[in-house]
């Protein structure tokens, strides 16, 4: 009798384990072992799981991506990607194929009380504080990608901002993938103490190759603190991407997320946040699918205490045979009276073969709340087309302009100029530019 092996990745683990950071930390070894056994039992999520029913990740199992060795870096690729994506007006941490690259990172003149370092460094220098937070915003039971990440992560980012500190410039973590068949598994932990204020940008880019990015980000927003997190997912169009973002908001904390899903053959993002009393969250998303891209966004807003406010707007533009998935869940606990929540998902289909699957879910256990949700899947609004025609613009240009505008509404929410321009560029290269004059924008 043989025991079924849920994943071929499990067999590879013993060869990888000795190179992972934090070897000397007993708690971490235990945590990784627990994660490994959970992952080994389940393998990657299957279509049978309700939260994965639209997204088939079996290709990841077939491909068997392998972690890359530190130092194997294609310099030309790196240089090109850096010049395009590294933000000049931000501190940046560069991770290449899942490994921190000190030479390319820019961390000069960071305030002394603020920690921004690779998580491998943090496990050496500040192990206690990492231990305090890691796996606290999510745990290995969430789903097997999280367990996989906990067992496999090679490096990542650790950010700690002390109470009341407002960080003037944003922090960018730039994930570069420069190898075919490579696996980049990274873990990021962001801690903003009470009344702190920070903006973090997670950028994912890669060379034209098939690779897997599997990343987990945990965010802790202290009382009355403010965290804005941007995700710029510009992976190669052959790549696989899983990114989970798990947030714990304390009392009166504000969390804003802007999720731009542009790249990837198969890309999935999970954004989950837990809200305490009177905390607020805003989740914005834009996904653009062309060719055979499959882009899945999964959000969960968990109102645990009274007076929370949540606003969510996800927009998708899908062309060719692309498929977009939106699953948005809002949970209002029995205690969470006076919750005010709005969730919206709007999809624009540009081709007959494009598909949008959208599933908003409200689970309300309190009786004095204001919750709304709306979903649309459709084509451009004829009234808007006529309005533009009556302003001298021909129909085709009007259609292109409105398609652009539909996406640009989300781009315009970006408050960081250089990042705004990057996102704008991504929108413009994906859709017909006739009708959109870049110089006039």
């Amino acid at each position: 009798m043989t025991t079924a092996i849920a994943s071929r990745y499990t067999a590879e683990y013993p060869t990888i384990a000795p190179s992972l950071p934090g070897q000397n930390l007993v708690w971490l070894t235990a945590l990784r072992q627990e994660a490994l056994s959970k992952f080994s039992a389940l393998g990657f999520p299957s279509l049978r799981e309700e939260e994965w029913r639209y997204t088939n990740v079996s290709a990841i199992e077939k491909k068997l991506f392998a972690p890359s060795v530190i130092g194997q870096v294609q310099e030309t690729v790196t240089k090109e990607l850096l010049s395009k994506y590294q933000l000049a007006d931000a501190w940046s941490v560069v991770l290449i194929n899942g490994h921190f690259c000190a030479e390319l990172s820019v961390l000069d003149e960071l305030p002394e009380s603020v920690t921004v370092m690779s998580i491998a460094d943090a496990l050496e220098k500040q192990a206690e504080i990492v231990e305090h937070y890691i796996n606290q915003a999510v745990n290995n039971d969430e789903h097997s990608f999280v367990a996989f990440n906990t067992a496999w992560f090679t490096d990542g980012l650790f950010v700690h901002v002390p109470a009341k500190l407002i960080l003037e410039k944003p922090v960018q973590v730039l994930h570069l993938s420069t190898q075919n068949d490579a696996l980049a598994t990274t873990r990021t932990v962001i801690v903003a103490e009470d009344m702190a204020d920070i903006k973090v940008i997670e950028t994912f880019v890669g060379m034209d190759a098939a690779y897997l990015s599997a990343t987990v980000t945990e965010v802790f927003v202290g009382a009355n603190a403010d965290v804005t997190l941007y995700k710029m997912q510009c992976e190669s169009d052959k790549a696989y991407h899983f990114g989970g973002i798990y947030v714990k908001q304390a009392k009166d904390a504000r969390f804003t997320h802007h999720n731009f899903a542009f790249g990837g053959l198969l890309a999935r993002s999970d954004i989950h946040t837990d809200l305490d009393t009177a905390s607020e969250c805003e989740l914005n998303g834009l996904y653009l699918g062309v060719n055979r891209q499959h882009i899945d966004n999964h959000t969960r807003i968990n109102h645990l205490k009274p007076h929370g406010i949540s606003r969510e707007l996800y927009k998708g533009v899908l062309d060719d045979r692309a498929r977009g998935v939106f699953q948005g869940r809002v949970i209002v606990a029995e205690d969470a009276q006076k919750t005010d929540s709005q969730m919206n998902n709007r999809n624009l289909l540009l081709s007959n073969d494009a598909e949008a699957d959208t599933k908003p879910q409200l689970e309300i256990y309190a009786d004095d709340v204001k919750c709304a949700h709306g979903v649309t899947v459709g084509q451009l609004d004829e009234k808007s087309i006529f309005y533009l025609q009556s302003r001298c613009i021909d129909e085709e240009t009007a259609r292109n302009m409105l398609t652009f505008a539909f996406a640009n509404e989300m781009v315009d929410k970006i408050k960081i100029k250089s990042l705004h321009d990057q996102a704008l560029e991504q929108v413009l290269i994906r859709f017909p530019q006739e009708g959109v004059n870049k110089e006039w924008l």
């Binding site: 808007s384 309005y387 025609q389 009556s390 302003r391 001298c392 021909d394 409105l402 004059n437």
Partner: protein, 251 residues
């Protein structure tokens, strides 16, 4: 400028306009008044080229050309401007972008080069001041989150910048408070000239206190049942629409 002859229009096989005749000369202001459902909005939509209407008879000639043959954007480039009753919100496109795109479409249509960026900005800012708007409006998305009054003002701003020949104002006074009405009216009055004509479609006489028409036509049941000077509007206000609707029955 505009000559409408015996125009009949159906919507879903139902006659809405039943033989409209109207002559508008350069520089004239015509008010089209009438109760709800009289066909006022249909007339302004037909002139601007909105889809969903079937012309079953008659003709509309604009500056010697068959207006009904032109696509909506060609009409606009030729100088027909519709100020919408319900201006559309377009998130993601800024006001200034739309203005530039519209103005340059007109210039291209007339084989003129693109407007110079600095000249454009000067022009736009002048007009923004004329309508007592905040310059910030220019950089906001078209009509998004604007109040009713702001939307109407924005329509007049577009009109001021595009300098059309024939301006159709569809229920411009609806949803305006008195201050906004004054500003909008002043904007319109400043655009009056000997070679520009206006068609004001309105349910209420109030707008005509501020923009004095040369002619008033009363539309009822798809026909113009009475025409006269500005004084006709006052008479209507006093006697109500039933007065003209009854007179139609007498025809």
């Amino acid at each position: 400028m505009l000559s409408i002859k015996n125009l009949t229009v159906n919507v879903n096989d139902k006659p809405i306009l039943k033989g409209i005749n109207l002559e508008i000369k350069p520089g004239e202001i015509h008010a089209i008044m009438g109760p709800n459902g009289s066909g006022k909005s249909t007339l302004s939509h037909i002139l601007s080229g909105k889809a969903g209407y079937t012309v079953t008879g008659g003709s509309v000639t604009y500056q010697g050309k068959d207006l009904l043959e032109m696509a909506p954007e060609i009409r606009a480039r030729e100088g027909v401007f519709l100020a919408f009753q319900y201006p559309v919100e377009i998130p993601g496109v800024s006001n200034i972008y739309l203005l530039k795109a519209a103005l340059n479409s007109i210039r291209k249509h007339h084989s003129q080069p693109e407007v110079d960026a600095m000249d454009f900005l000067t022009l736009v800012k002048d007009k923004v001041r004329l309508l007592e708007m905040d310059e910030k409006f220019l950089y906001r998305a078209v009509n998004e989150g604007f109040s009713g009054g702001e939307k109407k003002r924005n329509e007049i701003l577009q009109m001021a910048i595009l300098e059309p020949k024939l301006c159709i104002l569809d229920e411009t006074d609806s949803g305006l408070d008195i201050d906004a009405l004054k500003i909008v009216s002043e904007g319109v009055n400043s655009l009056r000239s000997t070679d520009r004509s206006f068609v004001m479609v309105t349910h209420y006489q109030r707008l005509l206190d501020y923009i004095k028409p040369d002619f008033v036509h009363v539309l009822a049941h798809g026909q113009i049942v009475k025409s006269g000077g500005a004084e006709l509007a006052l008479e209507l206000e006093e006697k109500g629409y039933s007065w003209v609707e009854d007179s139609k029955a007498a025809i």
